[in-house]
Amino acid sequence: MTGPAAVPVEDLETLIACPQCDALYHAHAPAKGETAKCLRCHTVLISPKNRAGMTIIMLSIAIMVLILGALWFPFLQISQSGFRNSASLVDAALAFSDGPLVVLSITVLALIVLIPLLRVMLLLYVLWPVVFDRPPADHARAAFRWSETLRPWSMAEIFALGCAVSLVKVANLARIDFGPAFWMFASVVVIIVIQDRFMCRWSVWNSIDPRHSR
């Protein structure tokens, strides 16, 4: 099956394997701002950034405040021939309220509010001690693993595009205006994208490695 192990066990710490295609490399941290990609499948392996930890923490707090705020304000307002209605984020999530569609309400609420919020809190929990030179938090590794698992299920940006589509869809039925929560949510989407650019998973795993901790 496998060839002879050409690499001595004690050297394993210096190796890194691409999670997508299993290509093996000798790892060394590139200079800040540089990116190391897998030569074969171009998956980003290492991408340390200047002051990344602090930046991610601040952006995480901003995301948390904006999501919680967006819950309370009206998201979209509609008016037609004297009738008015406004919907908040929670209203949108809970739109499927009858019968089997309740399942969908819970799913939508999770995808657009709960999971993005949970991810940010997990990141804060993991990175706070690291940035402030404390030993890693208990269960930091489990927390970061969960945050990574939940990544594809955080769908705030898709919901934002959904708003634009809805707007055009009912344009001939009624007049629609954006509420303050829409703009808060739109900025959350932008911040999440920026935050992800600062994230170097390799550096985070190194910083919470139990055998490296002080």
């Binding site: 099956m1 496998t2 060839g3 002879p4 192990a5 050409a6 690499v7 394993l12 190796l15 890194i16 394997a17 999670p19 997508q20 295609c21 299993d22 290509a23 093996l24 490399y25 000798h26 590139p30 990116t35 190391a36 030569l39 499948c41 392996l45 290492i46 979209l76 509609i78 037609q80 209605n85 209203d91 949108a92 809970l94 739109a95 499927f96 089997p100 569609l101 969908l104 939508v108 657009i112 590794r141 489990a142 693993r145 594809p152 769908m155 898709i158 919901f159 595009l161 959904g162 708003c163 589509v165 809805s166 055009v168 869809k169 009912v170 344009a171 629609i176 390799w202 795993w205 490695d209």
Partner: protein, 220 residues
């Protein structure tokens, strides 16, 4: 400088890699000591999980197209629209761009995903190693694009909560929204269950045991 053909895999070097934190361990290790993720060199059951989720995804996609996605009631008329029906209606109203977004996100992408995942899963057994590159690219596209199919479900959610203007106009969600959401979720799980490292395994791994492990190369 390593050429693409000569990069050995962790497996070929008798090692197992952690897909979560990219650390490498001796092949007998079963849990990664750094991040506690379970280590499997190649997941033998990966393909059966892929097919199980795939089947569920395809099954739920059928009612998603037969039942109405939403029901619109105004003073003058009541109309029920399926996914495709709603898009056709939009084209009649002149919003071709939005109709295209809906058609791409709700019809083209899901169907293309079903075919792509099936092709990838079949290609593991008899795929030509020289096509590893393009197959991996296809896999990344499936992974990246899959989530965007949820957009139609969100549109239904937004519209049904917003358009509640008593007799003037109201929109209620239909059963298709549930089965469509389930179909998207199951297909995402199917793609996630796929172990993409299998796309790169060579038929004769022995000759690569001699290859040197290259340095990571970084670019600004």
């Amino acid at each position: 400088m390593a050429t693409l053909a000569h990069i050995p895999t962790a497996r070929e070097k008798g090692l197992v890699s952690c897909r979560r934190c990219t650390r490498v361990w001796p092949i007998a290790q079963s849990v990664c000591p750094r991040c506690d993720a379970s280590l499997i060199s190649r997941d033998k059951h990966s393909l059966s999980r892929v097919w199980a989720w795939w089947m569920a995804g395809v099954l739920f996609y059928i009612p998603a197209n037969l039942y109405p996605m939403l029901t619109t009631k105004t003073l003058l008329y009541t109309s029920e629209a399926t996914i495709v029906g709603g898009a056709v209606e939009l084209i009649h109203h002149g919003s071709v761009g939005i109709a295209l977004i809906i058609l791409i996100a709700s019809v083209l992408i899901p169907v293309a995903k079903f075919f792509s995942i099936a092709y990838l899963a079949l290609s593991v057994r008899r795929g030509d190693p020289s096509t590893s590159h393009s197959r991996h690219l296809l896999y990344e596209m499936v992974e990246y694009v899959g989530r965007w199919s949820m957009i139609d479900v969100f549109v239904v959610a937004i519209l049904s909560s917003l358009v509640q203007l008593s007799v003037a106009a109201s929109i209620t969600p239909g059963l298709a929204s549930l089965s469509f959401a389930l179909s998207v979720i199951f297909t995402m799980l199917s793609a996630q269950a796929f172990d993409s490292r299998m796309l790169w395994d060579r038929i004769d791994p022995d000759h690569t045991a001699r290859d040197n492990v290259p340095q990571v190369e970084s670019t600004p």
